[in-house]
Amino acid sequence: MFRLVLRRLAWSIPLLFVASLVSFVFVAFLPGDAASALGGANATAEQLAAIRQELGLNRPLWDQYWQWLSSALHGDLGSSLLSHQSVTSLLNQRLEPSLSLIAGAVLLAGSVGIALGVRAALRGRLGKVVDAGSIVGLAVPDFWLGLVLILVFAVHLSILPPTGYSPLVDGPGAWMQSLVLPWITLAVPATAIIAKQTRDAVASALDRPFVRTLRAAGVSERSIVYRHALKNAAIPILTVVGLMFVGALSGTVVVESVFAIPGLGSTAVQATSSNDLPLIQGTVVYFTLIVVVINIFVDVAYGYFNPKVRLA
């Protein structure tokens, strides 16, 4: 298992390099640059040229990337071109809200989705409800869902705050209050997919010959479902949960905007709209690292449920 983790970590280095290079090239082809954002609508061509000179934006692209990469390898992700704040400290400030949002949403989606999926595998009719529900869950735009939840729970019922994020250090109660509606918004589509995947995987496992043997041996149905079938169905379920975790990263862009949460998603949008290259590169690095860590956890979980993976 330790070698598995080490291998995954080793792969993350070229992955980070490729991701940062691809994002750098894409941003270079976006219209405009940070100089336009800094200069404002009334900036003259001379002012824009002076800003580009000061920021080094007139250097060749390969030179700009090499400069960034050299600093990044020393742990320095540079400073935001617009706010001049250190990219690392800016993003570290925004890490907690995003991770709280994503982890809570996936936990919620996983718990509810797996529970629903198992029940659906055992009761045929509920399976149809899960199928229909998964289509609705995927079709509902999270933007709309978030606004409806705010309208009901914050505006009409006044039991939860409409927007904002309360850090954990300010108290777990306020922290949780500020995240309940965003968690639900982000979790709904993921719950739909996890429930459907769980139902299919558990139903498939229950059809296998070893289950007939277990029943013949007198093992209780509860034990067959939760100890044997669910364990055998765990690999595809884990795969989907891992994918949902990664999918939730991109979902944070919309959810953080609706609920005014200062996370990585909203930072990525702000950085991209103002061509703030160091901040864009920094968010790419952070997102890539999060995906790598998620994949490591999923692989370790694979190893727990399937010994063959441990030995591979």
């Binding site: 404002g40 705010i150 927007t163 309360s166």
Partner: protein, 534 residues
């Protein structure tokens, strides 16, 4: 591998885990419901404060930096709390003392400007605001390479301090707009303390002005919320209406209205797309027309689009559009229809110009035929979904189609892309949203051949002559010349302006003070006038 007993215990344990997780979440919701009050506020800025002690003001766009010298008037919603302007423009467009007690041009020709500061002013860091400090601040703003300050202060050639509180500006060219530039709409007079100028990084996430409040950086999170506390060195305690002001960034306009309905935010910058929703929610909506919006017919010389080079064609487009219908449909108020280059309440406004281009499809077709385009032509327009411009351009395009003019929209999702394409000189027309303040600010960006809104660098001798007179005119004579400039621009048909899009503010019933936003002061009130309603 465990035996049957261990297996049963293990499966029971997993079910219990799932049940516990769901139970924790339900408990969180229940606990939240029991513990929260009607005015829930999860922001870090004092959720238990009453409105009397604190107020939350909502804004959509955070400034990249809090340095007013590199900032933009668009970020006034954050900067105004800490920086009083030199002069205040009130609701009828007249100027009142701000940090300056006296101001005005010296002699003839608008080339020497002088102002006198109030006595005894101090920056929030305790250092005195005198003539020397004001001079240093203005020179600092002028020297910046980014932001609006260098443009606003561009005409200043040198700064003298003939008295301890008197500052004299020698201008390199006649510039009648200095007083307006120093008022709250543009914020050219946001003065920064010398200590902060010596350490400019301190201004990226800190304030050092003469305003009723100052930033509490420890309680603030950049781009999310800014907490302002009372400035202990402020000269007028009667203007410190709250102990704490929190400026909360909520980029989604619908979420902003909902936050106000829930009591989390008491006043906010509005948005054209939520005006109706805000009114329906029982909020006070203050929405003076502010921006000339429509299509900027940039290629007036016909370089890329030959038809646009003909004045008759541009006039035909103006006749083809039913402004009142578009204003009513998109903004809910047909009074926002606009067909000139000034707004009601401003010096250059002329009511008679509203009848210059009545909606007349036949007249439009006749002019197009006379110009040699009986079947119309295709007009590429670069636009952006921001500020509702895509919708506006599409609505205009629908009406131009009736006279055979096919509008081809190139929509850019971000302002950078839109702006870059607009100034490229490759597209003959662009969606237009230009804040109207006075003819001077119109010249800077729109009429000037170096301005970004005139990328084809077209000029008109009659207009140039009028502007020459305008720059030399006294404040009393200015409005008459402004009317003539307005009339000439309308006659030239350089724009297909359709509405005066409002700059809007929302207030809930607990506060008042933003009603002073009018077209006469470019739709920008003094935000620090915000106070309890009773």
């Amino acid at each position: 591998m465990t035996g049957p007993t261990g297996a049963a215990r293990s499966s029971h344990g997993r079910r219990r885990t799932a049940t516990v997780l769901i139970g924790v979440l339900a408990a969180a919701v229940a606990a939240a419901g029991c513990s929260s009050s009607n005015k829930t506020d999860a922001s870090t800025a004092g959720s238990s404060d009453k409105v009397g002690d604190s107020v939350t003001f909502g804004t959509a766009a955070p400034p990249p930096s809090l340095n007013p010298a590199t900032g933009d008037p668009a970020y006034g919603a954050v900067l105004q709390w800490a920086y009083d302007p030199l002069v205040v423009m009130n609701a009828d467009g007249k100027f009142e003392p701000g940090l300056a007690s006296k101001w005005g041009y010296v002699g003839e020709g608008n080339q020497t400007y002088e102002f006198t500061l109030r006595d005894g002013l101090k920056f929030s860091d305790g250092s005195p605001l005198d003539a020397a400090a004001a001079k240093a601040s203005l020179e600092y703003g002028k020297a910046q390479k980014s932001g609006t300050a260098p443009t606003l202060l561009a005409s200043i050639a040198s700064i003298e301090t003939p008295g301890p509180l008197t500052v004299r500006l020698k201008l390199s060219r006649p510039d009648p707009t200095m007083t307006f530039n120093f008022a709250q709409a543009f914020g050219g007079g946001y003065l920064v303390s010398p200590k902060a100028i010596a350490n400019p990084k301190s201004l990226d996430f800190g304030t050092a002005g003469v305003g009723p409040y100052m930033l509490d950086a420890a309680k603030s999170v950049a781009s999310d919320h800014y907490v302002f506390v009372q400035n202990p060195n402020y000269w007028n305690k009667d203007r410190q209406h709250f102990k704490t002001v929190t400026v909360k960034v909520i980029s989604n306009p619908s979420s902003m209205v909902q936050a106000m309905q829930a009591g989390q935010v008491q006043a906010a910058l509005g948005d054209p797309t939520t005006l109706a929703a805000a009114r329906n929610a029982g909020l006070t909506v203050i929405a003076p027309p502010q921006a000339m919006s429509g299509i900027n017919l940039m290629d007036r010389g016909g370089k890329v689009s030959k038809p646009l080079g003909d004045q008759r064609v541009r006039q035909a487009l103006n006749f083809a559009v039913d402004r009142k219908t578009i204003a009513k449909a998109l903004y809910g108020d047909e009074k926002l229809a606009l067909s000139q280059f000034a707004l009601d309440g401003q010096g250059g406004y002329d009511a008679s110009l509203n009848d210059k281009y009545p909606h007349d499809v036949n007249k439009a077709k006749a002019l197009l035929k006379e110009a040699g385009y009986p079947n119309g032509f295709t007009l590429p327009v670069v636009s952006t979904p921001l500020y509702g411009l895509d919708k506006l351009v599409t609505a205009i395009g629908g009406q131009l189609a009736e006279v055979g003019v096919k509008v081809q929209v190139q929509s850019k999702p971000d302002v950078n892309g839109y702006f870059t394409t607009m100034v490229s000189g490759k597209v003959p027309a662009a969606a237009l949203a230009y804040g109207l303040a006075n003819m001077g600010s119109l010249y800077a960006g729109y009429v000037n051949t170096a301005g970004p809104f005139n990328p084809f660098k077209v000029s008109d001798p009659q207009l140039d002559e009028l502007y020459k007179q305008y720059f030399l005119a006294s404040e009393a004579d200015g409005p008459a010349i402004e009317k003539q400039i307005n009339a000439r621009l309308v006659d030239l048909g350089w724009a297909l302006q359709v509405v005066g899009a409002p700059l809007s503010y929302y207030q809930d019933k607990s506060v008042t003070g933003l009603e002073t936003a009018t077209s006469a002061n470019a739709g920008v009130p003094l935000l620090t006038d915000l106070r309890l309603a009773s």
